[in-house]
Each structure stands twice: as structure tokens, then as C-alpha cells.
Amino acid sequence: MKIDKLIIGIIILALLVGLPLILAQPEEPKEKTIIINAKQFSYTPDTVEVNRGDRVTIRLISTDVHHGLYIDGYEVSTDARPGQDGSLTFVANNTGKFVMRCSVTCGPFHPYMIGYLKVKPDYRLFGSIWLAVGIFICSILLVSRRQKQ
């Protein structure tokens, strides 16, 4: 039983040590301009990664039909027709993954036309993984503890 506890102790320690490393603010905020090409039914690039605090401008270019771009959480949107680009600007204050979805019905797969905006550092992801591991460890501890009684 002692070894078990030692292992669990090491895991918890590793998690705690890892915490500040991952939460550390990586870079100074910057101006970023990103060009996204929209085509039935995907965006290129399909994932946009920025850092917290960045001022992000997205230029949307459509190469086939009328497309849109709506960003979950930030609730901003723009649209583009071939030859008529769209653009939007926002400050990436919320971290995590946000879905960018097409906001103009563009074809059968329109509801599935999706890209991701990832604002780093993703506290939410790290926090929830940490919670899941915590739940795992607690459950093992709980069932082992009852055993001794």
C-alpha cells in the first residue's frame, strides 16, 4: 500500500509543479492579421492560433459562394462573396477553443462548415484535464481506503 501512496503522491506533485509552467503567460500581446480562405465546406487554415491579448484581424476570402464567419464566445461575424472580402477585428481576451462557423447558408454541409480559433494559454483545457485526473486519483484513493476498514 505504501508504494501506491508514493506513486499517487508523485503524480499529484508532478501535476502541481506542472501547473504554473502551463499557466505562464507566453508572449507579449501583438497585432495579428490572418487571412482565411472559405470554400465549400471548410476554412483554410482550419485552425487559427493566437495568444491572449492579441488584437486579431481576420480577413475572409470566399472563392466559390457567399460564406460567413461567426466566432463562438466572441459573437462577432463577417461575410464574404467572391471578389468581396469580409473582415473582422477583436481582442482575444477569452482563452480557450472557440468554434468559427459559417453564418451564411452556403450548401448542404453549411452547418458543418467549421474552423477553430484557439486562444492560448488554454486554462480551461488544462484545468479540466487536471480535474479529470484528480477525480481518477480520488476514486482510487476512496476505494482503497474503504478496503482497510
Binding site: 470554400k39 465546406f41 471548410s42 476554412y43 483554410t44 482550419d46 485552425t47 461567426y70 463562438d72 464566445g73 466572441y74 459573437e75 477569452n94 480557450g96 477553443k97 472557440f98 468554434v99 462557423r101 453564418s103 447558408t105 450548401g107 448542404p108 454541409f109 453549411h110 452547418p111 458543418y112 462548415m113 467549421i114 474552423g115 477553430y116 488554454d122 480551461r124 483545457l125 479540466s128 484535464i129 480535474l131 479529470a132 485526473v133 477525480i135 481518477f136 476514486s139 482510487i140 476505494v143 482503497s144 478496503q147
Partner: protein, 468 residues
């Protein structure tokens, strides 16, 4: 000491919902569930008509697509299955025509059913057929959820198939084993439901030699789902048709409130068919997410059959992932569990028993997935109820309501919250199953660790996939 679900509610805690006299009266009336079925039928008439006139037009503005794949699917996964078991089967209008044909009437009781009344072959009395049927149906998800006519074809084939097959095979064999793509997971996932239909006092049933619920009487039909109402055990195959409430001369049937997931602890009739159902459902939730809410354009082209090769690649990958890869990975963890726990327990038994931990995990994965549809896309429903056939109507004044996503900022937290709750529930069930399977407590603890690790890994993977 009785076990407690999540350490809170004793496994055998029950509260009878049908104890109120007028509730019981409604349940015992032959108008129930006939009236809800007919009401539901009228909605399905609109769905079918909208699917038919909608053709290949945009699915997101089609009543049929929206009501089947958003309203119905979300209600099913988020409300009906977790809270009311197979209540959908109670009110499902699709096999109603077949059943009315068998009974040669709508309300009357006819103990000699019309039709060939063939028995269902014993070898097929399991979930394998519906496993493949559902997996097969998901191959066409790119069409079903985007082309109104595809939904029309699917629903019509279920209706016509049910009429034909119910004329051949007796009672509800169609729903149970052959024709309903969703029947399998409704059955398996209903094991989690917080409601159940059971006999009130088993002693009364024991003393009652003439089992009216099984053979029927002038008040009601013999159990159409061909189970033993006096000994239901698990919700899996109880279609909640309420016939046993009508046939029971002692009024001994009840709808109970109970703690969640208790049926998963019933160590009877477990099987590999249900294990695979659990794998397939988990895999489909992942694949559906990738197709519908993922960022990989090529996968959408595959599912949309832009090229034949792409489509076949999708079908192949989807099948291998669900039928082999998930069970394969799970097998490794079960093997580890046996090595740590007790090598004398048959591997098959461990594999089957532990696979039931994936039932809460799977349902929760589907609920988390459904949040990703609910918040961004449910506003379409307002449009389609005002103009169901795209004929320029404006029944409720909402036909020009624009697509409005809501709460998309907090959506990930809903998903993470449900997934973590799912982890807690499946770990709880996992350890109970472990104790049941290994018998000895120390073995159970050691054998539980790899399974718990697997469940945690799956949860983390899903959190990462959905929100990270």
C-alpha cells in the same frame, strides 16, 4: 449494507410515480398511449411532407431535418433516455401502422394477432443486427442530416418495413431486433434512466400462476415486447407500452423513480452484443463530432461523398474505428485489469462486464456533443415551425427569425461539466462492477485501476476533442 449510487442514493431506493389514483387511471386507460401516438403521428406527417417537398434543398431550413435531427435527437439524448427510459418507444408513431394491422384495430384488444406471427429466431435474439443497422445508418449521416429527402426515405422505409415485417413476425420483434436503428441504444442507454417499469410486489406475481401480463386478457395485450413484466430486471427491452398495467388483475405494475444507472449492475443477460453496442455508440459520438463540429474539411468531403474513394475511406475508417479499434484499446485495459486483479476470472466475462462502464460514458458523450448543436443551431427551429414546407407561410410570425447562436461562450463549460460528471458516474459504476466480478475486495480494487484509467483517458480525450 446496501450500495449507494455516487455514495448518495441507495441502489434499491424507489419512489412510485403511479401511486396517485388519477395518474394510474390515465395509465390504465386504453387511450394511453394511443393519444400521444396519434398526436406524434401528426407531427411526423408534417416531418414526412416537409422532407418530401424539401427534396435536396438546404437541410438547416427544413422542418423535417430540424425536427428529426435537432429537436428529436436532442430530446432523446438529453431528456427522454436519461430521465424517462424508453418513453420514445411508448409514443413512437413509426411502427403504429404495423401494430394496428396486427390488432386489426386501433384501441381494441385482440389476443389472436393478425399476420403470420412468426417467432423470431433464437440465434438473433440480441443486439447484433441493430448494431450493424445503426452503424450502417450512420454511413449516410452526411445525407440524412443535410438532405430533406434522405430523411424522408429513411422514415418511410422504417414505416413500410414495419408494416411488412410486423405482418410476418409476431408482436414488436420489428422494434426489438430488426428494423429500428436506434432501438439498440435506446435499450442499452435506458439502463441509466432514473425511471423504470417494474412489478410492485414480487410476491403477488409469484403467487399469481395465470400470468395475464404474458398471455394477455380482455383488458390488454400480451406483452408486445415479449418480456416478463413480473420480472423485468433491466429497462433494455421494455418499450413502456403500458399493456401490463392494463392486463394485471392485481394492479401490481408501477412506474418508479430510482437512482441512475442501477440496471448496469444487474449481472444477468449481459453479453458481447451489448458491449459492442456501447463501443459503437461511443465511436459514433466521436465520428459525428468530427464530421459535424470538427475542423477537418476533407472528412466532410468524405462524408458528403464528393468522391467515391473518399466516401469509401470514410465508411472503412468509421467501421474499423468502431468495431475494432475501440474494443481493441479497451481489451488492453481489461487484460491489465485481469493481470492485476485475478487471472482466474475468464477474460470474456471481465470484458463484457466492464464494457457496461462505457454506457454512462457514452450517453454523457452524446449529451456533451448535443450541447454543441443545441446552443449554436436550435434557433433554426423557430423558422421551420412558422414555415414548415418552405411555401412562404408565417404561422407564428417567426419565419424571418435569423440564425442566432446563443450561449456559445459558456457552451464548453456545459460540455466539460457533463463529461466530468460522466466520469464520476462511470467510475462509480465501474468499481461496483469490479466488486461484482472479482468477488474479493482487494482484487476488485486492483482490477479497477486499469478500467478507471481507461475511463479517465476517454474523458480527457473527449474534453480535448470537444473543447480544447
Amino acid at each position: 449494507m446496501t450500495e449507494k449510487i455516487l455514495g448518495l442514493i441507495p441502489v434499491d431506493w424507489r419512489f412510485e410515480l403511479t401511486s396517485l389514483p388519477y395518474v394510474r387511471k390515465i395509465i390504465k386507460s386504453r387511450w394511453m398511449p394511443f393519444l400521444p401516438i396519434v398526436l406524434n403521428l401528426s407531427v411526423f406527417t408534417v416531418i414526412l411532407m416537409a422532407g418530401f417537398v424539401g427534396g435536396v434543398s438546404a437541410g438547416n431550413y427544413n422542418f423535417g431535418i430540424m425536427f428529426v435531427w435537432i429537436v428529436w435527437w436532442l430530446l432523446l439524448m438529453m431528456v427522454m433516455v436519461p430521465f424517462f427510459s424508453r418513453v420514445w418507444c411508448m409514443i413512437c408513431p413509426l411502427p403504429a401502422f404495423g401494430e394496428w394491422l396486427q390488432r386489426l384495430g386501433f384501441m381494441k384488444v385482440r389476443n389472436k394477432l393478425f399476420g403470420l406471427n412468426k417467432k423470431w429466431p433464437k440465434a438473433l435474439k440480441n443486439m447484433w443486427l441493430v448494431n450493424f443497422l445503426f452503424l450502417g445508418t450512420t454511413y449516410t449521416t452526411g445525407f440524412l442530416t443535410t438532405r430533406p429527402i434522405a430523411t424522408f426515405i429513411l422514415l418511410m422505409s422504417i414505416i413500410i418495413g414495419s408494416i411488412v415485417l410486423m405482418a410476418v413476425f409476431e408482436k414488436r420483434n420489428f422494434c426489438k431486433y430488426i428494423g429500428c436503428p436506434v432501438g439498440g441504444f435506446l435499450g442499452l442507454y435506458s439502463n441509466i434512466a432514473v425511471t423504470e417499469i417494474r412489478a410492485k410486489d414480487p410476491q403477488i406475481c409469484k403467487d399469481h400462476k395465470h400470468k395475464d401480463c404474458v398471455i394477455g386478457n380482455e383488458k390488454g395485450h400480451a406483452c408486445p415486447w415479449m418480456i416478463l413484466p413480473f420480472d423485468i430486471g433491466r429497462n433494455t427491452y421494455c418499450g413502456m407500452c403500458l399493456e401490463c398495467f392494463k392486463t394485471c388483475p392485481y394492479d401490481n405494475m408501477a412506474i418508479n423513480l430510482r437512482p441512475p444507472a442501477t440496471d448496469l449492475l444487474v449481472d444477468k443477460n449481459r453479453g458481447l452484443d451489448e458491449a459492442w453496442k456501447a463501443f459503437i455508440m461511443l465511436g459514433i459520438a466521436i465520428f459525428f463530432f468530427l464530421i459535424m463540429q470538427g475542423n477537418m474539411g476533407f472528412l466532410k468531403d468524405w462524408a458528403n461523398a464528393t468522391t467515391t474513394e473518399g466516401y469509401l475511406t470514410f465508411v472503412a475508417l468509421h467501421s474499423i474505428f468502431n468495431l475494432l479499434l475501440i474494443p481493441g484499446v479497451f481489451f488492453v485495459f481489461v487484460y491489465a485489469s485481469r493481470t492485476l486483479g485475478n487471472k482466474e476470472i475468464p477474460l470474456k466475462k471481465l470484458f463484457t462486464n466492464f464494457s457496461y462502464t462505457l454506457v454512462p460514458m457514452g450517453l454523457i458523450a452524446w449529451i456533451a456533443f448535443s450541447f454543441g448543436i443545441l446552443f449554436p443551431n436550435s434557433s433554426y427551429v423557430l423558422h421551420v415551425i412558422s414555415d414548415p414546407f418552405a411555401w412562404g407561410w408565417d404561422l407564428f410570425g417567426t419565419s424571418h427569425f435569423p440564425w442566432t447562436p446563443f450561449l456559445t461562450g459558456v457552451m464548453p463549460y456545459f460540455q466539460i461539466g457533463t463529461l466530468l460528471f460522466g466520469l464520476v458516474l462511470s467510475l462509480d459504476i465501474g468499481f461496483k462492477i469490479s466488486k461484482q466480478t472479482f468477488q474479493k475486495r482487494d482484487q476488485a480494487v486492483r482490477g479497477f485501476i486499469p478500467i478507471a484509467a481507461f475511463l479517465t483517458v476517454v474523458t480527457i480525450f473527449l474534453i480535448w476533442l470537444f473543447t480544447g
